[in-house]
Symmetry: C2
Subunit: 320 residues, 2 copies
């Protein structure tokens, strides 16, 4: 199933089921929003499946891509990992950071009261803040009890999403140095239009990883085509890590962190910061600037058969 | 005005206005929950004032303290500062940390999907995790636009609350070292029963600080009686800091961080970790253990006239 959310004037928007070709959609009786559906997923799932079936027989309405916001326009919790070793190592070498403890996943709690839609402008107050994108995947879980095992955690993963974790690199190291994590350096993230059930990805959803390419374009030029398969920790491991000392509220989103591959020389990167780290290591200084107002970033996950299950993020950075 | 929230089977609970003596309360037509009221505070405020007036003429129902949950049982955002220099300096000296940049407030984004009620048991999975309390104050704001000035930020502070920021000290330094901030080390916080408008504190609300004592008792023994007046940054400054690169959603809670005073020798502390830091500096090793299952912590803010505007937090730590 592919799910999306339409602007309807409410903060949670209107949940719709989307057809395979992405051209039609259908609202779901009794399930106004995806956040609501996550709270009682077992009940919601069958209603959503009924709607998807009706849709497959032609009983839907045209889907206007401009009407879509993030599939989950807000949620109670957003916990983002950083599970790609290549990214961590490049940044560590380039910026002379201490090595991290590789036995534990990295994770921070981010802003979850607002996820920008796939085509929304991205407001930033100052062009000199080191405006950067981070292309990644994420999962949405139903309610997860504290202390869940990795095996059990896997069963709570209900939906997969594609995220752009906007980052302000001029502030990030200052906040990191405090040990308190990021507040100013991490404004609202964006989501691609469709949240999908894991079966939609076929064999690309394996080992608890989203093993598909993520294409990143900056101002219409290819920046990276990275694959989600090289996570040091799987998504179920990240969920279990998050739930060690807290129950995870239904609708919690857990992110992979910026996708990165050992073959970065041919694949490129999913964030500017990593590209700059590569340049620092090679040349002693970064060559690629960060984003400017008016710049556009486009991102889409793509399967071997060319399908783009999450749709496409395409956004422009603007002065707030 | 004093506001509270009663358990009613919904996650947001039922908003009530509370009488001056804390014995009676009254629900508010059209304003089911405090979170809802925060989203349209200007409208809600007059309805709440009408209810408070009706209550003052005896038109209320008895308030059952056992029926109360946190005044804001969940919110979209919780950002906690660490604005007391004494606390920061003691911890820094005792644990040999690098000095922090004193020109910027410290702040982390914490779990906001659940705030425990004032009498709820506190579930922790493991007694060896260094279970600790942190007594502090906080403010609840309505919607704050990005880039707000400190002066404007002050006008968005609608309510003041008293918080216990539960912390697991065996995990905290491990997570701090990553620079990503805390996830496992910071499970759900607790709130005292009453959220109050600033005028309820009289002269104790001044310079954007909650200048009143906070009494902390651990297993019925006095642990600290600290005052909120020594913040290096005011609460409006913390709000403006949080809003530098994001709009703050209505209902955002901003915390002071654990209250701490230069006269800690006579005043004591509002968390065990600080007491242990004092012992390490004095004796080379900590003497006070962390909490055990079954231990109770009690906290209340108290004014010079002995009033306790937020009511009292009294909670037991239990095995999850």
């Amino acid at each position: 199933m592919r799910l999306a959310t339409r602007h309807d004037g409410t903060p949670d928007g209107q949940l719709v089921v989307v057809s395979d070709d992405g051209l039609a959609c259908r609202a779901v009786d009794g399930w106004p929003s995806l956040l609501e559906a996550m709270t009682r997923w077992h009940e919601a799932e069958s209603a959503l499946q009924d709607a998807a079936e009706a849709l497959s027989t032609g009983s839907g309405e045209p889907l206007d891509p401009a009407s879509l916001c993030a599939p989950l326009p807000r949620s109670w919790q957003w916990l983002d990992g950083s599970a790609f070793n290549t990214h961590g190592e490049l940044v560590q070498i380039a910026f002379g950071l201490d090595p991290v403890d590789a036995s534990r996943p990295l994770m921070y709690q981010g802003m979850s009261d607002r996820f920008l839609g796939p085509h929304a402008d991205v407001p930033v107050p100052d062009e000199t803040l080191g405006i950067d994108f981070e292309g990644e995947f994420g999962v949405i879980v139903d309610a997860v009890p504290m202390g869940v095992s990795v095996e059990e955690a896997a069963r709570h993963i209900r939906l997969i999403v594609q995220i752009n974790d906007w980052s302000l690199r001029a502030i990030a190291p200052i906040e990191m140095k405090t040990g308190f994590g990021w507040v100013q350096a991490k404004p609202a993230c964006s989501m691609a239009p469709f949240a999908v059930t894991p079966d939609e990805l076929g064999p690309a959803w394996r080992d608890g990883r989203v093993c598909m390419d993520l294409v990143v374009e900056w101002n219409e030029r290819r920046f990276g085509r990275v694959n989600g398969d090289e996570m040091a920790f799987s998504l179920p491991e990240l969920v279990a890590h998050a739930a060690r000392t807290r129950d995870l509220v239904a609708g919690t989103i857990i992110g992979t962190g910026t996708v990165s591959n050992a073959e970065y020389a041919t694949r490129g990167s999913a964030c500017i910061s990593e590209q700059r780290a590569i340049e620092i290591i090679a040349h002693g200084a970064p060559q690629t600037p960060f984003m400017a107002f008016g710049d556009r970033v486009t991102m889409f996950g793509i399967l071997p058969d060319e399908r783009r299950p999450f749709g496409t993020i395409s956004q422009k950075v603007v002065r707030a």
